[in-house]
Each structure stands twice: as structure tokens, then as C-alpha cells.
């Protein structure tokens, strides 16, 4: 029915099946939209946030999707600046994931603020000292970059490509893509960092506060680094999942291996840096504010020391070891497990740096603050997931996201007939 729109030389599932799944995820999306509208029209009383939890699930979701969406900028950086040419075979998908992540982040931010209609004040009345201003500027600029990177992909749709103007536009954009990518990498470096800075500069919150250089706390660099490490992990993970669902190979193994190796080294160095940071914080920074390290990990089952072990050892050390060793990478289940843990590590880190910061009491006469999100918060957080799946479904079906797909398919057919 829609075969005219499907890229040439590849197979797609039936239109009916496609629509069926689209409707399923559309329903989830709709649920999220209802929740979103409730928040906009009735206000943030729809959430379970309170004056102790000014930042909660949404800010975590924001930080997490941006961290795992870091694959786009880092792969772009590797491909366009460092000339890792093989990565051109995964860059489209990385860009798509990045686009989904960043658009989701912006949407969540638009729901999260108390006065969405005044959201643009962050630009207009910008306070250049605020990490959040830096986040907002770089985030929206980088989203513009991602859009620019995503547009040529859309234009490559079989029907659109027929229009000469779009064909030429797409061609020209490819021509200057390196400049866009470089700008994007620059912007991304800063907003990933400033998201880390958001927590790190809170000198009123000893759990979050870190020393640093110039205006940037250590978390600034750690966040950028971890996004560069975990973003590619997430890209690989989603690629693997897509391959499992479509039941075919979409990216050649050498591409994945290269990306996994680089991600592994990034993750390993990040983990070392994170351990040093944690050590210094636990023994110098926090005690200076009068806090015992274990003060931060006691009193309640959620924020026990296990969360630190999970973040650093299970989601840092272990996947690093797997990814930097050839043997580790060779076994598919180890590789997938490692990239999963890597992406999870970034999410746990963001959780800790947002929610545990709020939970830890600072005034001696207050106690731990616990919070559980309302359904509206959960629905609006799941909304981007449904939206992401739908956008991947549509993009995969109609756009040449995976340049190697046709080749691999043809080889497979050839091998059958040989």
C-alpha cells in the first residue's frame, strides 16, 4: 500500500502490521499527552513534586535522555572531526536517536516549568551565570543542529528525493555537514557539561557540590565524559534491539565493534575519573561541610550504598572491562550486556545527581525526603519512549537510515543463490 515510499531494495513488514503497532504505541503516546495537558492546564499540582522536590522525575528523565542521546554528538565528532569513516554507517541512526532524545528533553522541560508560556524568558532574560541558562541555550542550539542533521535523511525518502529542490538541498547539506557536526559537538560538549554543572554548583547541597576549575565543577566534565561513553552504548543497544525486532542485520559488525571499543575506553576512563571524584568528594569535600560519607547512604532502603556500587562497579567497571577487551566484545551477549549496563550507569548517575540530592537532608533538624511520582509524571515520562519508538518505526520504514542494509540484504540473497 505504501510501497512507493519504502526505500528501494529493502523489505518491510506489511502495512497492516506497521499500523497496528503504530496504534498501540500511539495509545501510550495519547496517555502521555493527556497527562501533559493536565499539567499545562491545571498546573504542577498534578505531580507529586513538592517544595523539597523541586526537581524530580522529569529532571532525571531530561538528564538521562540527554546523556544516552549523547551518541549523536560523539559519533558525529568521531566521524566528521576524527575521520572515523566507518561510522557513517551508523551515524544516521545515532542522529535519529539523538533527535528523539533531545526533542523529548525539550518537551519534558516545557512541561516541567511552572509557567510554560514564559519559558522563553530563559533566553530573553538570560542569567549567564546559571548552568541552566547554558543548558537551555546549548540544548536548543544543538537540537537545531540535530534537526539539520535529520532533515537530509527525510529528504532522502524515495518520493521526496524526486523533487529536484529537495534532492539538491539534501546534497548540499551533506556537503557542509562537517561544519554543522563540529558546531554540534561544541554545543553538545557544553550542555552535557552544564547539565553536570547544574548539580555540581549547588554549594548548598553537600551531596551534589563538587569543586572544579574556573566556573565549572568536576561534574561538568564527568557528565560530558559519561555522555560520550554511554551515548554510543545506547546507540549500539538500540541498534541491536532494532535488529532483533526487524530480524535482520542492519549494521556490519566491524562498525559496531569500532564504536564499542571507543565507548569502552571512554567508559573505562570515565569510571576511573568518577572513582577519583567520588573518593575526593567523600574524603575532602563532604567532610568539610560536616558530612560523613555514610550520612548520604543511610536511613532508608532506597538510597543505600548499593546505589553507588551499582553506578560505579556494576555499570562502570564491569562494562568497561568487557568493552575494552576483544574477547568481551566478541561475544554478542557480553557486548549487549555491557552496552546496556553502560547506558544504565548514566541513568543511575543522573538519578543520583538529581533525586538523591533532593532526598538528603541538609538542615540537621530535617529528615530524609522521599518521593514517588504521580501517574501524570510517569505518563509524561513514558510519552517520549512511545514517541521515540514510533519515530524510529516510521523513519526505519520510509528512510534509508541504515546505509548498509541493502548491501547486507543483497549479499544474503546472493549467498542463498550461490
Amino acid at each position: 500500500m505504501d510501497s512507493a515510499l519504502i526505500p528501494e531494495g529493502v523489505k518491510r513488514c506489511s502495512f497492516g502490521k506497521f499500523i497496528f503497532w503504530l496504534v498501540i504505541f500511539g495509545a501510550v503516546l495519547l496517555w502521555g499527552i493527556v497527562a501533559m495537558l493536565l499539567c499545562w492546564f491545571k498546573g504542577l499540582n498534578q505531580t507529586n513534586m513538592n517544595d523539597a522536590y523541586g526537581f524530580a522525575l522529569w529532571i532525571w528523565a531530561d538528564l538521562a535522555v540527554i546523556a544516552v542521546g549523547g551518541g549523536a554528538f560523539f559519533t558525529g565528532l568521531l566521524r566528521y572531526i576524527f575521520g572515523k569513516d566507518e561510522l557513517k554507517n551508523i551515524i544516521n541512526f545515532a542522529v535519529l536517536i539523538g533527535f528523539i532524545c533531545y526533542s523529548s528533553a525539550l518537551l519534558i522541560l516545557a512541561i516541567d516549568i511552572g509557567q510554560p508560556l514564559r519559558g522563553w524568558f530563559i533566553f530573553w532574560h538570560a542569567n549567564v551565570h546559571s548552568m541552566l541558562t547554558e543548558v537551555a541555550f546549548c540544548l536548543s542550539c544543538y537540537f537545531a543542529v540535530l534537526t539539520i542533521e535529520y532533515i537530509p535523511l527525510i529528504l532522502e525518502n524515495r518520493q521526496i528525493d524526486r523533487v529536484p529542490f529537495f534532492h539538491n538541498l539534501s546534497h548540499n547539506m551533506h556537503g557542509v555537514m562537517a561544519i554543522f557536526a563540529a558546531t554540534g559537538a561544541f554545543l553538545s560538549f557544553f550542555h552535557q557539561g552544564s547539565l553536570g554543572g547544574v548539580a555540581g554548583v549547588l554549594f548548598g547541597r553537600p551531596f551534589a557540590f563538587r569543586e572544579g576549575v574556573f566556573i565549572w565543577p568536576w561534574t561538568f566534565f564527568l557528565f560530558t565524559w559519561s555522555a560520550a561513553a554511554c551515548g554510543p552504548c545506547f546507540t549500539i543497544l538500540i541498534t541491536w534491539i532494532t535488529e532483533k525486532i526487524t530480524k535482520k542485520k542492519l549494521v556490519r559488525k566491524n562498525v559496531i565493534m569500532l564504536l564499542a571499543k571507543i565507548a569502552g575506553w571512554m567508559l573505562a576512563t570515565y569510571t576511573i575519573a568518577k572513582i577519583i571524584d567520588t573518593w575526593y568528594w567523600a574524603t575532602v569535600t563532604a567532610p568539610a561541610a560536616g558530612h560523613n560519607f555514610m550520612d548520604f547512604y543511610s536511613n532508608n532502603p532506597l538510597y543505600g550504598i548499593w546505589i553507588l556500587v551499582l553506578e560505579i562497579v556494576i555499570c562502570g567497571v564491569i562494562p568497561s572491562i568487557i568493552l575494552i577487551t576483544k574477547t568481551g566484545r566478541r561475544y554478542s551477549f557480553l557486548l549487549v550486556g555491557a552496552v546496556f549496563l553502560g547506558a544504565l550507569g548514566a541513568c543511575v548517575n543522573r538519578w543520583v545527581m538529581v533525586l538523591q540530592v533532593m532526598a538528603v537532608p541538609v538542615l540537621t533538624f530535617e529528615s530524609w525526603f522521599m518521593y514517588f511520582p504521580s501517574w501524570q509524571e510517569i505518563a509524561t515520562t513514558i510519552l517520549p519512549v512511545a514517541y521515540g519508538i514510533m519515530l524510529i518505526m516510521i523513519s526505519y520504514r520510509y528512510l534509508p537510515i541504515f546505509p548498509q542494509e541493502r548491501e547486507i540484504e543483497e549479499e544474503k540473497h546472493a549467498s542463498i543463490f550461490v
Binding site: 504542577l44 517544595d51 523541586g54 546559571s130 568539610a288 561541610a289 541538609v362 538542615l363 540537621t364
Partner: protein
């Protein structure tokens, strides 16, 4: 964070709260609500959703009967000076909706500018900032008592104690009309200070050696305003927030409750 150079001398308005005198009666809280058009709703028992610019905490010494002891601690906004006006909340506000005035030392909040990101709330270790989760609603007829000097806040913005800044403005206006550029100590007092039946709250200019606040707290401006009065302390002094609210207590456990100490640390 703009430095404003006016002809007047720079003030550093601050407060001393005598916890030995404070009886926990709550008058400061109500005085604040009445002065500043603070809204209320049906259930205010969830203190994490209850806007109280001035909140009185009840501290306990953690001992068993009959050694148990309690102390009340009123907590307005600390109007932190941080390092040269680098208050925890001011520097993080992305929209410049909150500002440290070098003219008065007061941390302001512009409600029409705030777009409700709540970063300042995350930054404030004193929980002195409150978010308008709901539209403020006054029961039919009760809006008649609202003061024209303080605008009621709309849903979706952050609010907090302003040291009754409008009173400063009114006092300054009056002084200017009378040809004066400086205020007398009693011309500008916050609502809570005025109401306190125990006279436990003292308010004034910490830069002015003649003001009672300065004489009692004896702030050491060379060392970030640290009090030289041995019974005086500030909340979470070690964080470097440099608050302008000082507390007095003759009880050691109360003074120690003002800050965190690592195990076996003396303080």
C-alpha cells in the same frame, strides 16, 4: 547581581533571632502571611506543600524522658550573601528572576519574571523557597484584606521571604520626601520582627555598628560575617552560604543543631 551604586551607603540588612526567648508561638509566621498576602488552602498539614516564608521548626535534643528538650527555630529566608552576593539561589536562576541587592543585602524574587523552573529551590539548603503549585484562591470576600503593597503570586512561580522589602521602599520614599537619604533603625522593620511577642527577633543593618543586630551578633565581616558572639550561630555556616540571619542560644545542643559535624568533631 548587578551592583547598584546609589548615594546611600550600602546596607546589609540582617536578623538576629534569640532562640532562648522564642516561645514557638507562631506569631511571626502569621504576621508574615498577613503582611505578604501569602495564600492558604484547605489542607496545610503537608508542610512540603505549605507556603510559609517564615517557618518555625521544632528541634529536639534526641534524649529520653525526662532529659528531652525542645527548641523552636524560626526560619525566614537567610538572604545569603555567599561570596560577594553569590547566594546559592541567585546564581542558579536562569532568568535573573532572583537577585542579590548590594544596596540592601536583600535577595529579591520577581514573580512576573520567574517561570517556575525551581532550580533555586533545589539550590537552597534551607528550604526557604516555596513554589505555587496551585492558583492562590481566597474565599469569597476574604480578598478584601489583601495588602496593595505586595502582589499576590500566580500559580507556577517561586516565592520566598523578602525581608518585607516593600516596607524598605515605603520607608525610603518617606525619607526622601523628608529630604533624608538614610533610615533610622526603627523606620524599617519586618512584619515578623514587629509582631514577635517575645521580642526575640531583631532586625537591622549589619553594616551599621549602631544597630542592635550588629551589636548582638558581632559579625566579623573579614571572615564572611561569622558571629563573634559565642552564643550566636548561623545555619549551615560551613557551606559558605554566608547567611544574614543569626541565631542566639545559650544551649549548646541548639547551637550544634545549626550545622553538620562529622563524627567526633568538636564545634
Amino acid at each position: 547581581m548587578k551592583e547598584q551604586h546609589k548615594h546611600t551607603k550600602a546596607k546589609k540588612y540582617g536578623m538576629v533571632i534569640d532562640l532562648d526567648k522564642c516561645t514557638g508561638c507562631g506569631a511571626c509566621m502569621a504576621a508574615c502571611m498577613a503582611e505578604n498576602n501569602v495564600s492558604f488552602k484547605k489542607d496545610e498539614s503537608d508542610k512540603l506543600l505549605s507556603i510559609t516564608w517564615m517557618r518555625v521548626y521544632k528541634l529536639t535534643n534526641g534524649k529520653k524522658f525526662p532529659e528531652a528538650d525542645i527548641c523552636y527555630l524560626p526560619r525566614p529566608c537567610m538572604h545569603c550573601e555567599g561570596d560577594h552576593g553569590h547566594a546559592p539561589c541567585v546564581s542558579v536562576c536562569p532568568a535573573t528572576a532572583t537577585d542579590y541587592s548590594h544596596e540592601t543585602g536583600i535577595v529579591s524574587q520577581i514573580y512576573t519574571r520567574c517561570f517556575g523552573c525551581r532550580y533555586c529551590m533545589a539550590a537552597c539548603p534551607y528550604h526557604a523557597r516555596y513554589f505555587n503549585w496551585w492558583d492562590p484562591v481566597w474565599p469569597d470576600g476574604m480578598e478584601k484584606y489583601l495588602s496593595p503593597n505586595v502582589s499576590p503570586r500566580m500559580r507556577g512561580v517561586v516565592e520566598k521571604c523578602s525581608f518585607c522589602f516593600h516596607r524598605y521602599q515605603l520607608a525610603m520614599d518617606k525619607a526622601y520626601i523628608e529630604g533624608r537619604r538614610e533610615l533610622e533603625e526603627d523606620e524599617y522593620q519586618t512584619s515578623c520582627t514587629q509582631a514577635c511577642p517575645a521580642d526575640a527577633i531583631i532586625f537591622g543593618d549589619l553594616n551599621n555598628p549602631g544597630h542592635a543586630v550588629t551589636q548582638i551578633a558581632k559579625p566579623d565581616h573579614k571572615h564572611g560575617g561569622r558571629p563573634m558572639n559565642p552564643n550566636a550561630f548561623r545555619l549551615l555556616e560551613r557551606l559558605g552560604t554566608n547567611p544574614k540571619v543569626y541565631y542566639l542560644s545559650s544551649r549548646r545542643w541548639v547551637r550544634r543543631a545549626g550545622d553538620n559535624y562529622i563524627k567526633d568533631e568538636r564545634g
